[in-house]
């Protein structure tokens, strides 16, 4: 909690983020290089999926991060509404498009993978559908936070939406699962199998780690931009 209060001052946060930025960028680049080496060169092709399994090394981390990103939005929304944490709004504004991009990457790579494996770019599979709905929830959050002339109102409305969305996500997931089994019970695709071989798991974890670093890096850069933008707006108003 003390750390949160420490970073609540945007100027202090800016100094902090500028200090960690060089080493964070370096770590992100390095982890991406190692992860891509494992994913594209070192790991063997899957015995069923062939070379297309390599798409999974981008697809799965994107899916994880897009879900974690929405959870982050909900936490930020709660801290904005409860403690009026001044930085939470800026971080949420910065993080929502990043999370939406990861959801979109997940959808696109998924459909590129589905074309050779399932023979079609899109099936109304429960997981695909709920990821699509998550993407729509992100779009709603982004649109709402930018729909007001007064940015504070947009931030707080989006915070309420993030909390309601976080309550509804499990319900949506459950209902989509139910809907899918009702409509096409036989064609449920199963990915991977009971366990993942270490040769696949190592690059996956490396890629997940590097994507996490990339997510943090992008959010930090975008948060700094938001702070600058607010400063300019305030300077503009007082001038």
């Amino acid at each position: 909690m003390a750390d949160l209060h420490f970073l609540a001052n945007p100027a202090r946060f800016r100094r902090f983020s500028q200090r960690v930025m060089p080493s964070l960028s370096f770590a992100t680049g390095l982890a991406l290089l190692v992860g891509l080496y494992f994913a594209l060169v070192q790991s063997p092709p899957d015995y069923q999926q062939g070379e297309t399994v390599r798409i999974m090394f981008v697809h799965v981390p994107s899916a994880w991060l897009s879900m974690a990103g929405y959870a982050l939005l909900a936490v930020l929304g709660a801290s904005l509404l409860v403690w009026r944490h001044p930085l939470a709004a800026l971080v949420a504004r910065a993080a929502a498009p990043v999370g939406a991009c990861f959801a979109l990457v997940c959808l696109i790579t998924g459909s590129l993978w589905g074309r050779p494996m399932w023979g079609t770019y899109w099936v109304w599979d429960a997981r695909l559908t709920s990821m699509l709905l998550l993407f729509f929830l992100y779009l709603g959050h982004i649109a709402l936070s930018r729909a007001y002339d007064d940015p504070d109102r947009g931030d707080r409305a989006a915070a309420i939406l993030a909390l309601i969305g976080a309550i509804n996500l499990p319900i949506i997931k459950f209902s989509v699962d139910w809907w899918n089994t009702l409509h096409q019970p036989a064609s449920v695709m199963k990915l991977g199998g009971p366990s993942i071989h270490p040769a696949i798991l190592t690059p996956l974890l490396w890629m997940a780690g590097s994507f996490l670093l990339l997510f943090i890096l992008l959010v930090l850069v975008r948060t700094e931009t938001e702070i600058d933008r607010r400063r300019l707006e305030i300077a503009d108003q007082s001038a």
Partner: protein
């Protein structure tokens, strides 16, 4: 509770004195539904198969159509400021607005939908199931839509934004509402679907008034 009924009665009276707002919504529901056979073709097996989904989607759109004025009129003429100052909970006021919205749009849709279902060739049991699911499901649509209306109050392009916010949250209701009729058509019992629709309505009833009140307080600041 007198405040609650007074607010519902006031909203109903406002609608009664200007009935055009509601009849337009109902006309939209009928016209939108009728467009589907024209677009897809008059084959009766196909129409009976898609009837539940079409009617549910049309009901969802129709209930969204009238929502952007739900709080906006009160916001513009200052009623909302008085509600904010009033010594009784804003959550109840928001709930009363949603209740009035449901009475003037949700309830007529419940009555109207079975007649359109006949045109789609649904049998008697399916028509009953349609009316039952709409009766249990439309309150959820009014509550979620009311939340979206409160969140977009005073925003730019609030109408389109409202739909973008409300539609993903309405997906569970749509799935179980339309799914119930399909289950019925397969000769199975649809009480599970009805129970889940009721559960969704109760969850919406327990969560959305707080969020609506929070959003309205910000709008009033």
């Amino acid at each position: 509770m007198t405040g609650f009924t007074a607010l519902v009665a006031r909203d109903l009276r406002l609608v009664w004195r200007r009935p055009g707002d509601v009849t337009v919504v109902l006309a939209f529901f009928v016209v939108a539904t009728v467009l589907f056979p024209l677009g897809i073709g008059p084959e009766s097996n196909l129409l009976a198969r898609i009837a539940a989904g079409v009617l549910w989607c049309a009901a969802l759109f129709a209930s969204l159509l009238s929502l952007d004025r739900l709080f906006a009129a009160d916001y513009d003429d200052g009623t909302l400021d008085l509600l904010l100052l009033a010594p009784w909970p804003l959550e109840l006021a928001a709930l009363a607005k949603c209740a009035a919205h449901w009475i003037v749009t949700g309830l007529p849709l419940v009555v109207l939908a079975p007649f359109l279902g006949i045109a789609f060739g649904l049998d008697r049991d399916s028509l009953l199931a349609l009316a039952a699911t709409l009766l249990v499901g439309t309150p959820t649509l009014s509550l979620i839509g009311g939340l979206a209306a409160a969140l977009t109050l005073g925003a730019r392009r609030s109408g389109a934004l409202l739909a973008l916010l409300a539609l993903p949250l309405c997906v569970p209701t749509l799935i179980f509402g339309a799914g119930a009729i399909e289950t019925m058509a397969m000769g199975k019992n649809f009480t599970t679907h009805l129970a889940i629709l009721g559960a969704l309505a109760l969850v919406a009833l327990a969560t959305t008034p707080w969020a609506m009140a929070a959003a309205l307080r910000q709008a009033g600041e």
